[in-house]
């Protein structure tokens, strides 16, 4: 129940990448026939992704991951053009740390963790060159109304490039609807059944930025480094499958989400963090009173339920969530944060077992705490 962290690879994506691991190994930048073969596969992958996003093939830049795509879009823009970077406080660190690094403006979010339009409006002016707002939050699953954001940015920061981190959105939202609202967009293959170590930055023609990886000038000088051919091909296939199944999956996972929430709501002291209406179906974020996330996750793990609470630091320790802090969630609730996330392999049986294990674990933690209190 941790699909928001990463997803199992789709069989069709594995199949698509295999020939490039064991056979077609050439560097697509070469000039011989084997290189041309590899090049063709990269070009086809680019065309496929472009058709799913609704962009031009030349607007797809292959990168190493979602984080790199965000870095290129934000740091690359400000390095090339100067000006101020802006983002909301609940962004993924891949965005937040870039904006902080550039001494940019970090704006407040509302109680659901989506950007507060008034706060965003107040941070916008002619000097702003980069605005980055995530389409779907990785911790809570809250959806940003990008139409509102886009409108605000166009009107009040006319010089800004609007970027969206769509890493968590790709499974749930039709990228064709998102793309017209923004100038650039980051996606990451492993969040939708592709392999780790490959992502893309979709960037509108005419938007120039300073590359963050310099070298041989691949990707039209926007991202150097030998192409990860197998990864790129597998990403394209995974995105194709995700897009083809999206409508069906959204309905199926929505039903699982309802089932999960019904089960969890029977446990005393469980509070939903973000209402259904504004979140993607795949993420159920709850805060549980009188429970510590670290303890809960250990007990869940022991019972073979893999979940998460917030992001982990380099040591592997769970960090208090900056997203919940930005939302104003009280410490006693955020201490018991739990994110259960679902995806293409999640079943009804997974959901039922999760409910049972969470209920048992919460009860156990509270019972021991009560015993310790009595002394």
């Amino acid at each position: 129940m941790d699909h928001a962290a990463t997803t199992p690879m789709r069989a069709s994506a594995i199949e698509a990448m295999m020939p490039f691991l064991d056979g077609v190994y050439a560097n697509p930048s070469g000039s011989h026939r084997f290189a041309r073969l590899a090049r063709k596969s990269v070009d086809e992958a680019r065309d496929l992704i472009a058709s799913i996003v609704g962009c031009k093939p030349g607007e797809v830049v292959f990168t190493g991951c979602g984080t790199e795509s965000d870095n290129a879009a934000i740091i690359g823009i400000v390095r090339r053009h100067g000006g101020v970077a802006v983002c909301p406080a609940a962004e993924h660190h891949a965005v937040l740390h870039c904006v902080e690094h550039l001494h940019g403006r970090v704006v407040d979010v509302d109680a659901n963790g989506a950007v507060d339009p008034d706060a965003l409006r107040a941070a916008l002016d002619d000097t702003v060159r980069s605005v980055s707002v995530m389409a779907v939050n990785n911790e809570t699953g809250v959806i940003t109304d990008m139409t509102v954001v886009s409108d605000l940015v166009r009107r009040h920061a006319p010089n800004a490039v609007l970027h969206t981190d769509a890493v968590q959105a790709a499974c749930w939202i039709d990228l064709r609807l998102l793309w017209p609202l923004v100038d650039s967009m980051a996606i990451s293959a492993h969040k939708f059944g592709g392999p780790k170590g490959v992502g893309a930055l979709i960037v509108r023609e005419g938007v120039t930025f300073e590359p963050v990886v310099l070298g041989g000038g691949q990707e039209r000088d926007r991202r150097s480094g030998t192409h990860n051919v197998a990864g790129i091909v597998a990403m394209a296939e995974a995105l194709r499958a995700t897009d083809a199944e999206r409508e069906h999956e959204v309905a199926r996972i929505s039903a699982l989400r309802d089932r999960l929430l019904t089960g969890l709501s029977a446990i005393p002291g469980v509070r939903r963090t973000v209402p259904d209406a504004v979140s993607v179906p795949g993420v159920v974020h709850v805060c549980i009173s009188d429970v510590e996330s670290e303890s809960l996750l250990y007990l869940l793990d022991e019972a073979d339920v893999c979940a998460s609470s917030a992001s982990a630091c380099a040591s592997g320790a769970m960090e208090p969530s900056h997203v919940l802090r930005a939302m104003g969630v009280e410490r006693e609730w955020s201490a018991g944060a739990l994110r259960l996330s679902m995806g293409h392999t999640t079943t009804e049986a997974d959901v039922d077992r999760t409910v049972r294990v969470v209920a048992e674990s919460v009860e156990r933690i509270r019972a021991v705490a009560a015993r310790l209190k009595r002394g």
Partner: protein, 368 residues
């Protein structure tokens, strides 16, 4: 038994974990993330966590990281800074054991269904007739019973010190035999949250750490006649009994015999002036039951345990030395052993007459 072993990434806890596995226990390793300071070492020492995790992988146990940075800051770092501000010399390792390793971690272990918590300390838990006693480690030179003296019956009954029966040389030899990457790692000596690498201002160590959190004051050094003989950069960092940096030249050895933080004055004098027949000790904890009478008292990690009688006193105990001893800086722990000097009976924190009246709450300093 289901045992949670605290793994610091050092050789002792690595071998302790391996021994538990060899003994057939169901073992899980955990590294506590304690220090989250930003301007200092950044994240906790990630390389130590890496070492602990690699050792755990090698001996085939799960490894977890618990984030206890809030509790560490509240119970160890803040008191450490506050104590310095009032001229008290704290022992943060003891406070970490008291509040983190044997309180917070024990509580967490209970919640998670563990029967015991183990650490790599050189000390022994001995059960006799249903009473748990804390004894010195087998290796006298590495004995750490002093720093874990605060354990009570409830904690001792759930604590294991697997390397307490071993010499340090044997611990290292065992680590080498198993091919553990921590086999040759040097023992840690310093306060873990104080960095030795220089910050952006070129400062490092205790003075840099403290000066970012409290104002440090220049003080004059005077002799016992009140004659000014020099000055120190920070009166907050001077400790009773200290010799270094207060000599002022001349032939006779001079020691700090009084530290007056508010008066910005350090008095130095001959060693004889440091001697005392009694010490006051507060914040007492007892291993099993309250013991008054003849005991041995040890006042530093590897100091001598000297004979004394202990008697109850207002809110603590009085230690009456058999032979006069050097005064102990307030804030240091006094640990009581049986007459043989082998079994811990209890311990507390030395209170000096100067700071005694206001000690209860210490001076509270606003860090912001």
């Amino acid at each position: 038994m289901k045992v949670l072993i605290a793994m610091s990434g050092g050789v002792d806890s690595s071998v302790a974990a391996a021994l538990l596995v060899e003994q057939g226990h169901d073992v899980v390793g955990v590294t506590m993330r304690l220090w989250g300071g930003e301007s200092d070492t950044g994240c906790c020492s990630v390389s130590d966590v890496d070492d602990a995790r690699r050792v755990a992988q090698q001996i085939g146990i799960d490894h977890l990281v618990f984030n206890f940075t809030d509790e560490f800051h509240r119970n160890v770092v803040e008191p450490y800074v506050n104590d310095h501000a009032v001229g008290v010399t704290p022992n943060p390792c003891i406070e970490c054991n008291r509040h983190l390793k044997f309180d917070r971690l024990h509580e967490r272990a209970l919640v998670l269904g563990f029967d015991a918590v183990a650490t790599g300390h050189h000390a022994r838990v001995v059960e006799r007739d249903g009473v748990f006693r804390l004894a010195r480690g087998h290796d006298a030179a590495k004995d750490q019973s002093y720093v874990v003296h605060m354990l009570d019956q409830r904690q001792l009954s759930r604590t294991m010190f697997p390397v307490g029966e071993m010499n340090k040389a044997d611990v290292r030899a065992h680590a080498e035999r198993l091919g553990l990457r921590t086999a040759g790692k040097p023992d840690s000596q310093d306060v873990c949250f104080i960095t030795t690498t220089k910050d952006d201002d070129g400062r490092s160590g205790r003075s840099a750490f403290l000066s970012r959190r409290i104002p440090l004051h220049v003080a004059e050094i005077v002799d016992v006649a009140g004659e000014r003989i020099g000055e120190v950069e920070a009166v907050e960092m001077v400790t009773l009994g200290q010799r270094r940096g207060v000599g002022g030249g001349g032939g006779t050895k001079r020691f700090v015999v009084d530290v007056d933080v508010p008066g910005r004055r350090v008095v130095v004098g001959p060693e004889a002036m440091l001697l005392t027949e009694t010490e006051l000790v507060g914040q007492m904890s007892w291993s099993s039951f309250v013991v008054f009478g003849t005991v041995r008292v040890q006042c530093s990690a590897h100091g001598e345990a000297n004979l004394a009688t202990v008697e109850p006193d207002d809110g603590g105990v009085v230690v009456r030395w058999r032979e006069p001893q050097r005064r102990i800086s307030p804030g240091q722990s006094a640990v009581f052993y049986d007459e043989a000097g082998e079994v811990v009976l209890g311990g507390g924190v030395v209170i000096s007459p100067r700071v005694r009246p206001g000690l209860e709450g210490h001076t509270v300093i606003d860090f912001t």
